[in-house]
Amino acid sequence: MKTEIIISGFGGQGVLFLGDLIAYAAVKEGYYVTWVPSYGPESRGGTCNCQVIYSDKQIGSPAIAHPDILIVFNQPSLYKFLPRLKTNGFLFYDSFLIKEPPAREDIKIVGVPAFQLSKMGNMAMLGAFLAVVDQIKSETIFQILEEKLKGDKTKFIPINKEAIATGMDFVKSQER
């Protein structure tokens, strides 16, 4: 089993953090993992992306040509990466921020108005990803949040969990 994910959006939307969280959760679940950020001088507002691979075998190239899963939070990211998504791959896109619907029929499309559902749209999108893809356990994510958010930051745990739950609930309601 090997899953390749590209996550892309504006700097400040929590793109790198989202990828890092998925990657770290995969480490905890026993996978081999790589996470590669695009790194640039922009801290806020520029486009940024990251590439996450988790696999039960050692990972060769950490660079992804054709992802299995694409998660995008803005229109430029969709234009840039959609052609590279594998046939039958998953596209997660923020349907609140991206107005133009994705033009491919050979993929599974999951529209989530992530930044409308929550101020922490990246966490809402994570909820949708966890529910739809069903490879990483949400308990592992919660465990990491508790590990990382200690001391003064403990207060952020409930709102993160809540945002994740919002995303999960949203995709489940769409299925019905």
């Binding site: 480490v27 996470w35 950020p37 640039g40 190239s61 950490p62 660079a63």
Partner: protein, 363 residues
């Protein structure tokens, strides 16, 4: 199963601290800055522990300094190494260019230390994306004069930690500076890894400045001659040392070369892409293998000589530059096989499919 998960730059810090680092001197630069930042956080966390009356986690790591320049950083390293301390600096390509003067002096004075280069795009200010254009500078000597650096080329976050530890061993064993040469991708990438386990070797340093208190003798760290004869002698000793290192310390990895007709060769990140491409080609029934140098100096010429003396008649070189590493591969092949270069420059890492395509062209 994997226990740790961190950036390549952070793994270097982990390795250095396990190797008993005493002083770190550096200047920030993308994409190497996490190294100085991680050292800073570990160093000052220990000072806070001391204030609370607790024991520091890294009692040997006594000095951390963000210096005023790359020049000051490398010269502080020279100072620390001169008195026998385990010291290190880290930077990226343009910063490494600035350090070259100091590196030449350090090599001349035979001072053990570790220099990290997280390569970015060049020449000039270039870009902050990964390239391998500092190959010549690292292995042929970027500063003035005859000298050699022991150069290691990791290709995973695991090796970023382990090679840092190994480099402390080698540099202390041979009284020679060493460079960890990694591309920006390896510095920025996070990866799962095992706890790095490299036994750390300790070496006596009776030559160090400051030992007068121990033996009453004057110890001067210098490499200056007013007449040719003593310099000839000193340089002969230096050359002998380089030959010993060349004889004893060559390291490389081979993969599926036993029946290979074609070998792909690369170091750093491209070597991982190449390995994946070898597997894809093997699925198509192509007899192809991989050679990955781990020491770039001393260079593993012999493995290329041996393989091309036997069954291999095509060699594909993948590197992130116009083609520098390829020249050493050619010296090893000595015309016995066709050497074809796949240069990928400007900050883009080739894909497995692209490398596969190049392999298929050679079939």
């Amino acid at each position: 199963m994997s226990k740790l998960y961190m950036k390549g730059n952070e793994a270097i810090v982990e390795g250095a601290l396990r190797a008993g680092l005493e002083g770190f001197f550096s200047y920030p630069i993308t994409p190497a800055s996490e190294i100085i930042e991680t050292f800073a956080s570990k160093y000052f966390a220990d000072r806070e522990r001391e204030k609370r009356g607790e024991k520091p986690l890294y009692p040997k790591f006594r000095v951390f300094m963000q210096m005023e320049s790359e020049l000051a950083s490398i010269n502080a390293v020279m100072g620390g190494a001169s008195i026998g301390c385990r010291v290190m600096t880290a930077s990226s390509s343009p910063g490494i260019s600035l350090k070259q003067e100091g590196i030449s002096y350090i090599a001349a004075c035979e001072l053990p230390c570790v220099i990290v280069n997280i390569m970015r795009g060049g020449p000039g200010l270039g870009s902050i994306q990964p390239e391998q254009g500092d190959y010549f500078q690292a292995v042929k000597g970027g500063g003035h004069g005859d000298y050699r650096l022991i150069v290691l080329a990791p290709n995973s976050v695991q090796e970023m930690a382990e090679h840092t530890m190994l480099l402390f061993n080698l540099t202390n064993k041979y009284r020679n500076p060493g460079m960890l040469l990694a591309d920006g991708y390896l510095g920025q990438m996070k990866e799962s890894l095992e706890f790095p386990e490299v036994p750390i070797e300790e070496y006596e340093k009776p030559w160090a400045a400051g030992n007068m208190e121990l033996d009453g003798e004057q110890h001067t760290i210098e490499f200056l001659f007013l007449t040719p004869e003593p310099m000839v002698e000193a340089k002969k000793r230096l050359l002998e040392k380089y030959k010993t290192i060349e004889a004893n310390e060559v390291r490389y990895e081979t993969y599926k070369v036993d029946d290979a007709k074609i070998i792909v060769t690369a170091f750093g990140t491209p070597s991982r892409v190449a390995k994946a491409a070898v597997d894809l080609a093997r699925e198509k029934g192509i007899k192809v293998g991989l050679v990955r140098p781990i020491t770039l100096w001393p260079f593993p010429y012999k493995i290329y000589t041996n393989l091309t003396s036997n069954q291999v008649d095509r060699v594909l070189v993948v590197e992130l530059s116009f083609g520098q590493f390829v020249e050493d591969v050619r010296l090893g092949v000595e015309g016995r096989a066709e050497v074809r270069l796949f240069p990928k420059f400007g900050g883009i890492v080739p894909t497995e499919e692209e490398v596969l395509e190049k392999i298929m062209e050679l079939v």
